[in-house]
Structures are given as structure tokens and as C-alpha cells.
Symmetry: C2
Subunit: 338 residues, 2 copies
């Protein structure tokens, strides 16, 4: 099944993947921006910030699109600028409310129509309006940054930093899709789906939050499945061992894809969740009901290291005591030594 890889090779690939390495600079910036604000329940290190407001939680997140994606496929870049933000709210167990964007583009480019069309189509499909923003029509570059507002009940939020020893780790991914023709590391499971289909997937995360079925969660973003789990474990101050043989995956051969490629993928709909053992089966059932495949891939432990194994072979991907990914607490101490 994982024929093209040794665990050591996979560990190396994940660790050295730019999507993971580029996260290092976050920690220092967070410390430099800090001000005391008691209404802020959670901020950096979570997929969205959590702000207490009139007895509920307002969620606020921002995400931008790598310039290389803008160049490769302006429509998909616009679509993704919306998608990644909706993922950020869903990963917190929240409901997306509205988005704003800042779009910078050079004077004589024609890509903006495709970018805007991609943004519109995702906004309409997920039913989350883009309500304003700012346009730089004479920038020396093309870049699209989107921010999103969402809300949640204060007692129903899914945090990243609350994984506990003994929790089971679930990877939940919509496997019915395609390698995006413009981006070998994007698994498009969304553009071909109906509005009802994708909205049910987003709504499920809100239900899971309300029903307290998970202990922590994060959407699978640019660092891929293993990198995302690494970030969740780092901020939780925990470690884990996962079995690569259990990672949900589409037919790799039919999609002309390697397993290495798959574990680096940004999936159109994918989440890493941790849960108590007694909730695993219920979660797997609920994800299946919205077209997503959830597998129990391993267990959280106290090691503060992430190890992967497959078929007797084993390797360490991250050691958060030695080297953080985001250098956010509680991993910050290790980063200062770097």
C-alpha cells in the first residue's frame, strides 16, 4: 500500500517540505504583537482566534494564497482563498458568517477576472458572502488575502491545543476528487460538488463541536496531514505515534500519485481530530454520512515527539522538545535555542 516509501523517507519529506518549514517564523512575530486583551480567549496557534462577545464566541481568521498558486491557476487561487478561510472556521466548530478581501494586482494583468470568479464561485457554493475589502490595482505583484468572521457557542469550540494523552487521532478526508490539474499538491474534492454537499461537511464540524465528540482539531492545510498533526501536537504539548497504513487515501495509482505526494497534499476537505476512544465510531459514521472517510490513525502520548510507522518500519518526524514547527507555546522554549 505504501510501497513507494520508507517511513524515514516520509519523515524527511514532511519535515523538509516548505509548507512545514515556512511556519517557523510565526512564533517570534506572535510574541512581538502581543497585547493584553482579556476578551481574547485564544489567538495564534488556533485556526481562528476566539473572542468572547455578548456571551458567545466570535471567530476571526485570515489566510493568504501563495504567489505561486496565483501564477499557476488564478481561478483556483481565488477559489482557495475562500476555501481555506471557511476551513479555518469549520475546524474551530464554528459557523462562517462573512469574508473580506484585500486583492493586490499589477496594472496590466488580466488574471483578476479569473481570481474574482473563483472567489465568487466558492462564496456562492458555501453560502458565505464576501462583504467588502480593499483593492490595490497597481501593485508590483498579485496577491489575494481573505479574512473571515464566524461564530460559535463558547462551550462548543474545537481548539488545537487541547489534545490529551490517550486520545485517538482521526484523519477525515473527502477522498472523492482529483489531483488538481494546475497544482500537484492540491486534492480538489470540492469544485465538482453541489452546494448542499460541501455545506453539509462544514456543518458537521459545528455539530461535532456542539456534541463534544472531539478533544482537539485542525483543518489539514499546506503542511499536509502529518505536518498539520504536528502543529496540533506541538501546541497541545503532546506527542503521538501514527500508522501510515491507516491514513485514508484515494486510489493512488489511478490518480498517478505517490504516497509521499498524498501526505503533503492540501485536501479540499480534510481535518485532523483527536477524540476519546468511545467517540471514534460515532465520528467515523458521521463523517461517512457527508462523504468523508475518517480513520483512526494513531494515539496521542506524552512524548512530545511525532513518530510514524508502517509495516514494522518506524521513524521520528518531529521532536518538539528539540525543534518546534510554529515555535508557539509550549514549543517556544525549544525555538529560542535554534
Amino acid at each position: 500500500m505504501v510501497s513507494d516509501c520508507s517511513t524515514k523517507k516520509i519523515a524527511h519529506v514532511v519535515r523538509e517540505y516548505e509548507g512545514v518549514k515556512r511556519k517557523h517564523a510565526i512564533g517570534e512575530m506572535v510574541k512581538a504583537l502581543w497585547i493584553d486583551a482579556p476578551q481574547v480567549i485564544a489567538s495564534f496557534g488556533e485556526d481562528a482566534a476566539v473572542i468572547e462577545h455578548n456571551g458567545e464566541a466570535l471567530l476571526l481568521a485570515a489566510d493568504g494564497i501563495w504567489s505561486r498558486l496565483m501564477e499557476a491557476d488564478p481561478y483556483w487561487a481565488g477559489y482557495c482563498s475562500v476555501l481555506v478561510n471557511i476551513h479555518d472556521i469549520a475546524a474551530m466548530g464554528g459557523r462562517p458568517i462573512a469574508m473580506v478581501d484585500v486583492f493586490s494586482m499589477p496594472k496590466n494583468t488580466h488574471i483578476h477576472e479569473q481570481v474574482v470568479k473563483g472567489m465568487h464561485d466558492a462564496s456562492a457554493q458555501f453560502g458565505v458572502p464576501i462583504v467588502g475589502g480593499h483593492l490595490h490595482p497597481d501593485a508590483p505583484y498579485s496577491v489575494i488575502d481573505v479574512s473571515i468572521l464566524g461564530s460559535a457557542r463558547l462551550d462548543s469550540i474545537i481548539y488545537s491545543n487541547t489534545a490529551q494523552e490517550g486520545d485517538h487521532i482521526l484523519a477525515a478526508i473527502d477522498l472523492s476528487g482529483r489531483v488538481h490539474p494546475s497544482c500537484a499538491l492540491n486534492w480538489d474534492s470540492v469544485t465538482m460538488k453541489t452546494a448542499a454537499y460541501v455545506r453539509a461537511q462544514i456543518a458537521l464540524l459545528e455539530e461535532i463541536g456542539k456534541d463534544h465528540l472531539v478533544t482537539a482539531g485542525k483543518d489539514i492545510s499546506n503542511p499536509g496531514l502529518i505536518g498539520t498533526l504536528g502543529m496540533l501536537l506541538e501546541v497541545s504539548g503532546r506527542g503521538a505515534e501514527i500508522d501510515l497504513g491507516k491514513v485514508p487515501k484515494p486510489d493512488l495509482a489511478a490518480n498517478a500519485m505517490t504516497f509521499e505526494q498524498w501526505v503533503k497534499m492540501y485536501p479540499g476537505m480534510g481535518f485532523i481530530l483527536t477524540a476519546r476512544k468511545q467517540n471514534v465510531d460515532e465520528l467515523v459514521r458521521r463523517f461517512a454520512a457527508v462523504g468523508m472517510t475518517a480513520h483512526d490513525i494513531g494515539t496521542v502520548d506524552a512524548t512530545r515527539r511525532l513518530r510514524i510507522r508502517y509495516d514494522g518500519d518506524e521513524a521520528q518526524v518531529f521532536d518538539f522538545i528539540e525543534n518546534g514547527i510554529t515555535c508557539l507555546p509550549p514549543g517556544e522554549a525549544s525555538c529560542r535555542q535554534q
Copy 2:
């Protein structure tokens, strides 16, 4: 007083100023992004979008910093990325809650520390936390985009598109400041002030909204005082005549500045407001109490043209029937003909 200018020259300068001209592309983009969303009370054309949520208004805005400012002065660029967003919420009569940012920077740049320091200092001074965001540490450019969340009572919002015929036009500016040493078109009235001083200015706009003292308002942004008034009149479907002799201004000679330069300035704290005649004196008093000079500079009319006069001389700056600034409704029809 306005010795260095004829009204025709000023009209030309404002119309051709890049800060104004670069607004043209907005209208088409807004139409392309539109989806139906009944909870959205106002969106493009306002300084912040207004979303009805649990019986109150949530305000959401985004703003970016021109690349030329990033290059000229990274600290001031970071400071302004926060300041312009706080202005957006204040201009709506709202209270700022929190911000998120997307910061893109090249690999080997050292400007980011200064940018982040500027952001932090403005955030701390105004008491509005930066709660999250996204970092692109390997972009081919430096750009900082910030989004802000605010709130207001639904009945206390100051809109841009509600100026009425016969309203008086107030320009309210904090004149105690300096031409920013890095940016000839930025009037810095903020960095040298205490937290209490600038927070009182922001809070005043919320009070003005609650007390229904104005009919419309907008913060003076990159298009300058006359350009900002133009945008307000365009979306209100109105015109106006203003007297340049009445525009509040610092000692131009002492600041080695021309009047042309002053009317293109982005002030650290400045708003254009329209009000019924009976509220003008009260507004002037309240602004004076927080260190701002508010003058009645003219009157809103039904012409859909903005004219300026000084000392018997007169010129037309904008004709919204012929040429829109933002091409947002109701000015969109004219833009389609361009």
C-alpha cells in the same frame, strides 16, 4: 490662505491624484463577487461591512498598505496598517474589537521587525488586539493586509450613502501633528499622542452615532479630504459645493507644505461628516473636546456634482453622472459608459 492654488488647479490635482484614480476598479469587482445574503445590511461602498447578528451589528473591514509605503518606512507602514482599519470601524460609529493580519515578506528581508513593531505599537495605543493571521515568509514582495472586526448598535451606524440634500458638510481633523518625515502625503497626528487621547477620538465617533448627530460619514483616507467627500457623495447619489477657505488646516508655511499637498493628505485622524444644520455647533464642540478641528465647509445638494470654490473662483472636481470614482451604485451607470 490658499495662495498657491486656483480652484481649477486643485480640482485637477484631486481628480488626477492616484489615490482617487485607483478607486475606479472597485465597482466591477463588487458586481462579480455579489451573492444574495439577507443578513448583510451594507457591504462595498461603506468603510466597513455591516452584518446583522443576534440583534446587533458586526462590522468587518479590510485594508492593505501600498507597497511604496512599506519600502519608504516599514515602521510607519505597520502602524498605518492598524490605524486605517481602526478608522474604518470608527467611521461607521462602531467600536473596534480585534484584528487579524496577513503579512507577506521575502526570505532575506529585515524590514519585518520594524513592520511588526509599528503594528504592535498602534495596537497597544488604540487598545485593539491583533489576534491572529497568516505569514508568508518567502513571498516575492513585502505586503501587510489587516482586517478588523467591530460592533455597533444597529440603530447607531454612520453610513456613507445617506447624505441628504441640505445637509452641512463637516471636515474634522486633528491638526496638531507633523508631515510624516517618510511620507509627504501623510499627516501624522497620532504617534506622538497618548493612548487616552487617541482612544477618546475613536470613542467620539461611536457617541456621535448613538446620539444620531450626523446623517453620513467617512474617514479621510488615501483619496484625501476632497476625494473622500467625493466617494461619500457618489454613493449617496448627491452633489455638493464646498469652500476651500473653510477647510481646517495646520500652519502650512510652518510645516513647509502647500495647500495642494494638504488636500491630498491622509490625516492620522480625520473624518468627513454630513449633518443637519441644528447639530453642527454641537459636533464642532465635541470634536474640539478631543483635540480635533471641525469646520462647516459646505452643503450637500442634488446636483451629483462636487464643486469647490475659493474667494470668488470656482471649479468642478467630479461629475458623478458622467464619471464615477468607485463606480459603485448609484454611480455605476456612468462607469459602464467609460
